[in-house]
């Protein structure tokens, strides 16, 4: 996994899909007509991150320092043929999985945390702030900050904070300050607590708190998903997969991944956009953004500080059930992904908690890897897909976005 032999699989450039979309990506819009929230991004994001958000370039050079950091955290990640799962499903095609759980923080999130923290540090920023749902993004931010010599603060959705104490410990170990959100650290958090002291928190609220905190303290905010530049960074996943498949002479018929904000799925599939591979995006049934969401402009954060984006969304004040796949609880999905779903290029699926738990168990038992609850949704879609006789013989690639070793509390003995 940490061998130096395969480092040339790490791409030299990130891929930005925008120039290759079938239609223009609807631009961000201001929520409040009196103010420019796009302008406000100048005070929230590192400059280079903001530049990449709106770039017209198809490729962005990955700084050599970031490539070094990618190697340190376990890139390239392995592409593994899931032979035991094939046998278990009596599937006569091939199942591969790209394993992002092999990074040191245990998920794909580190792929964008590193460059964002690197750019922030480069621009003289002392401290970065973010939110986290399941804890994966907060963990990635905490490590990326410390590797780049800066501090970090993380607002963690309260239910996860309570359910996943180990996540908090790891973040602390990496030097992060962690608060349960809604918190008393921001005006927005205070307002919500005043109304409901036991509010379980949502990702939308935590984002609002993190953004407000960064403005209040002149820090910079790191983007965990949804925004275009995050997806651009995450294309290291798909680009590596393209090369790995090439090396073994395979061609993907079907790509499957899970969707919270859409970053692991998009980063995995977009480098295949010019092929004829079928693509299936899996959301949680409890957060039915594809079947019940509206494709319209909506807020990214509950407070409406950030610009609105056109995306599939259940509404920024949507409070999902507290399913264990915290990373899938977000109300929207990245604009480029939403557009491609709208155009029919990418298909969707929604998988409920019990079905994903079943997939989680099958995958653990057959492959020995304990997948993240989020990734288990993609595995559930893949299992159904491979059980369908019409799909026999195909080559299916699943993105297993993270491991679930720190999420085991939900498994009943």
């Amino acid at each position: 996994m940490y061998s130096e032999q395969n480092v040339d699989i790490i791409p030299e450039k990130w891929y930005n899909i925008v120039p290759d979309l079938p239609e223009p990506l609807p631009p961000p819009r201001d929520h409040d007509p009196e103010n420019s929230s796009i302008d406000l991004l100048n005070r929230i994001l590192p400059k280079e991150v903001l530049r990449q958000e709106f770039t017209s370039s198809r490729y962005e050079q990955i700084p050599q320092e970031v490539i070094e950091q990618y190697m340190q955290i376990g890139r390239p990640t392995p592409l593994i043929r899931a032979k035991n799962l094939e046998k278990f499903l009596k599937f006569n095609g091939k199942i591969f999985f790209k394993y992002e759980g092999a990074t040191v923080t245990g998920s794909h999130k580190i792929n964008t945390a590193l460059p964002q923290a690197y750019y922030a540090a480069n621009e003289g920023v002392q401290e970065v702030v973010t939110e986290t749902g399941a804890g994966q993004w907060g963990t990635a931010t905490a490590l990326a900050a410390t590797l780049n010599g800066i501090k970090s603060t993380v607002f963690m959705v309260k239910v996860s904070y309570e359910q996943k104490p180990l996540r908090k410990k790891i973040m602390n170990l990496y030097g992060a300050q962690v608060y349960a959100s809604p918190s008393n650290m921001t005006d927005f958090g205070k307002k919500i607590l005043a109304k409901d002291p036991d509010h379980p928190g949502t990702l939308g609220i935590a984002i609002s708190e993190a953004v407000q905190y960064s403005l209040d303290h002149d820090m910079r905010y790191l983007l965990g998903s949804v925004e275009n530049c995050v997806i651009t960074h995450q294309t290291v996943i798909g680009q590596e997969t393209v090369k790995q498949l090439e090396t073994i002479g395979e061609k993907a018929d079907t790509l499957i991944g899970c969707v919270g904000g859409g970053s692991n799925f998009s980063g995995f599939t977009f480098p295949f956009i010019k092929t004829d591979a079928e693509m299936i995006a899996t959301a949680a049934s409890e957060v039915p953004k594809f079947s019940r969401g509206k494709y319209a402009y909506d807020m990214i954060d509950t407070a409406g500080i950030l610009p609105e984006l056109k995306m599939f969304s259940l509404g920024a004040d949507f409070v999902p059930k507290s399913i264990y796949a915290g990373g899938l609880r977000y109300h929207g999905a990245a604009p480029a992904l939403s557009l491609l779903i709208r155009k029919g290029r990418i298909k969707t699926d929604e998988v409920g908690e019990s079905q994903s738990l079943e997939a989680f168990k099958i995958f653990s038992k057959t492959q020995g890897i304990v997948p993240a609850p989020e990734s288990s949704h993609a595995i559930a879609t893949a299992i159904n897909y491979c059980r369908n006789p019409a799909n026999q013989g195909k080559t299916v690639v699943i993105n297993v976005s993270g491991h679930g070793l720190l999420d085991l509390s939900f498994v009943r003995d």
Partner: protein, 235 residues
């Protein structure tokens, strides 16, 4: 136009018409100028009070008599329910064409229809592109239109996020060949303008940076701002 009122607007137009430029871009005020920043949004609301097509025609006549070409900037959300009537009015006002900034993002499926409506009336649909317009869409729009191209430097007017001007100009130039490309949205410094020019822009459009002078009725400031910006163009 007319912002903040007809009289003030016309006095600044007089200043402007005495200076060196080729195209006059006239904003048709509307309720939902989504891709404008706060400054221009403010002007839309106020200008709606004084706008009429009759007045537009008067303004265009004056400008034509001073040798300028004239283009409307108008949102499709403002006229998509009355395309025939609206475009007849645009043509009858003596305008040479119009820029429709929300066509490709919000009414993509109507691009062929709308360009046909322009063509029929012998007015130019000026294609409006930004860094998020896909290559394929640009190539197709070039086929559907003639005349010059408007490229947004920024995601909306009057704001500034960091951009790589060299890459942006190179990309649009490689797709547009010899067509005239004019950059607008958020341009307020002679330095940006000379960068744009150096990398191959044919022209620039300014708006937001002039508004404060109109608001404070500062003719001297207005003229020197225009001259300052022209320093970047004609240096």
């Amino acid at each position: 136009m007319p912002y903040p009122d007809r009289e003030t607007f016309q006095s600044f137009l007089d200043d402007l018409l005495g200076m060196r430029f080729d195209y006059l871009e006239i904003g048709i005020p509307t309720e939902k100028p989504y891709y404008d920043g706060p400054v221009i949004r403010r002007t839309h609301r106020k200008a709606m009070e004084g706008f009429s097509f009759q007045y537009l025609k008067e303004v265009v006549n004056i400008s034509v008599s001073r040798g300028k070409k004239n283009y409307a900037l108008v949102y499709y959300n403002h006229f998509h329910e009355s395309v025939d009537e609206f475009l007849d009015n645009i043509r009858d006002s003596g305008l040479d064409g119009a820029i429709v900034p929300d066509l490709l993002t919000d009414y993509y499926d109507e691009r062929e229809y709308l360009s046909e409506q322009f063509r029929k009336r012998k007015i130019s649909l000026i294609p409006f592109f930004t860094s998020s317009t896909p290559d394929r869409v640009i190539i197709e729009m070039l086929d559907l239109t003639d005349g010059w191209i408007y490229h947004g430097l920024q995601p909306s007017t009057g704001i500034r996020v960091p951009v790589s001007i060299d890459k942006m100009v190179a990309r649009i130039r490689s797709l547009c060949g010899n067509r005239e490309i004019i950059f607008g949205f958020g341009i307020n410094s002679a330095e940006t303008i000379s960068d744009l020019k150096r990398y191959g822009a044919d022209g620039i459009a300014v708006g937001s940076s002039l508004v404060p002078y109109i608001e404070s009725n500062d003719h001297k400031g207005f003229s020197s701002e225009v001259r300052m910006l022209q320093g970047g163009v004609y240096d």
